[in-house]
């Protein structure tokens, strides 16, 4: 970090508490780590207790000097009681939640939409759409009481275009965009902002099936104007902005972070 600011930065998150689901790797981990680096207290969560513990320790080790702090709470966000326990743990520890990031999602099926098994479809919808709705009900009344808050769903550019192989996942990600629009209308008056961040292909384990496919990978590099896949930090930065003073009047929106893909096809060279 460089010279001190004369005026406090809009992006200082000191005093904030954030809960981030799916935050032991990839985009979720980058969001948790960067928020802690910018001074926030964060709740790290995913299904596996040992991984949660390791990432929590790593964040505490790296960012305690910045005022960052982490606790770990394992949870399967597809199960409502575990969602309730996650929110309760954050409130027990710090008494407040300023930012909730619904990042965890599943993408278990690869093939034509009409052939998806019913249980796979149900699981996608409950994990990617219903679970964020549960969380909104768990955190928004609390945020409203405290005078405001910030709710972010990590969606996907898949939610604004068709995809031949992961149609149901894309359908769930489009639903997330409508969810934040509706949350904006329902909770905006309480100074709660709800927004989506929608990335294109980011180099994470979650998306490995996509970028490990050489045709998809090559096509992405050719067609993304910025000529590279995303990095988890590219998504963390936008999410952090939404949590900060800078994002206080952004509400009901979807921020597409895609290396320019949706703007138009880059040159084939």
């Amino acid at each position: 970090m460089s010279a001190a600011s004369k005026t406090p930065s809009m992006f200082d998150l000191s005093g904030q508490v954030a809960v981030i689901t799916g935050s032991t790797k990839g985009i979720g981990k980058a969001i948790a780590a960067r928020m802690a680096q910018h001074g926030a207290k964060v709740v790290v969560s995913s299904r596996k207790a040992d991984v949660v513990e390791a990432v929590t320790a790593e964040i505490n080790r790296n960012y305690a000097a910045n005022g960052g702090e982490a606790i770990g709470v394992p949870a399967n966000i597809g199960r409502r009681p575990e969602c309730e326990a996650l929110v309760a743990a954050a409130l027990d520890k710090w008494g407040q939640i300023d930012t909730f990031v619904a990042n965890a999602a599943i993408n278990p099926y690869y093939g034509p939409l009409h052939e998806i098994p019913e249980d796979a479809f149900a699981k996608i919808m409950s994990t990617n759409v219903q679970s964020p709705i549960w969380f909104s009900g768990l955190v928004c009344p609390h945020m409203a009481e405290r005078g405001g808050g910030n709710f972010v769903v990590i969606s996907s550019v898949g939610g604004v275009r068709g995809d031949a192989k992961i149609g149901a996942y894309c359908l769930s990600k489009a639903a997330d965009m409508q969810l934040v629009r509706n949350m904006a209308v329902e909770w905006g008056r309480f100074n709660i902002r709800a927004n989506c961040v929608a990335p294109a292909l980011v180099k994470t384990d979650f998306a490995r099936a996509l970028w490990a496919n050489p045709v998809r990978h090559e096509t992405a590099l050719m067609t993304y104007p910025l000529k590279r896949l995303g990095d988890p930090d590219d998504i963390a930065g936008m999410t952090l902005m939404l949590a900060s003073r800078a994002g206080q009047w952004i509400c009901g929106q979807t921020l597409i972070v895609d290396g320019g893909m949706m703007a138009g096809i880059g040159r084939f060279e």
């Binding site: 905006g188 952090l240 994002g247 972070v257 290396g259 320019g260 949706m262 703007a263």
Partner: protein, 266 residues
Amino acid sequence: MPIPPLFDLSGKVAVVTGASRGIGQSIAQQLANHGAKVVVSSRKAEGCDAVVADIKDNWAQGAGDAMTITCNVSDRDECYALIDQTIAAWGRVDILVCNAAASTHKGPIKDVPDWSFSKMIDANIRGALWLTDRACPDMASRKDGSVIIMGSTGGQRGSPDMGLYAITKAADMQIARNLAVEWGPQNIRANCIAPSLVTTDMADVLTSDPKRQEMMEWVYPMQRIGTVEDVSGVVVTLAGPAGAWMSGQTITIDGGMMAGSGREEG
């Protein structure tokens, strides 16, 4: 307090047009507060000089600095000169914020006089293109740059009395998309910001009307109009490391307006 790393603009040079007041002034302050050297530009030097003095006193970082270069963005030569003089003084342009705009007609499009039509096309569309014509090749030489164009939610919907202005703001969104495609391989990002009503001198005309004020509560789920700080922080985000993979997009800043009405009744 150290500059937050994802928003650190140390060593960068920024040019902000229309920076003598309102949103542009706040953008210049915030860029400086996050470490950038800032060129404060508008048509008249006096307004800019006051902003420059304030930035030096209250916002600029150790390495940061501020200076005035006047520019009428509806004049091609002045646009070129703004970029050329910046490079002559500070060696580079890393961040270009096309914020200056003209809104010279209130009423139906069919009544816009030719001079007013040309003024808005020149200032709001051609000005942004002239500035990027000159700035993007310099950014490309370092394979790094960020162009931010001030659009408006007006450019996403029809407007009964500012139709041509709205058309130019829609064009700004397309400029960002096209610059993204043309300059992306040189690692230049181009994005548009589309605010709804923000408290600046320009907007006070509308907000002083009590009827308008009541309508506000119907229109905005967040039940307030915007402040300049609601916009300027997003510019810092797009200008710096946090915005490294965002290009060709329009970020709408509107307190939920486009999402739907916040009123339960009616």
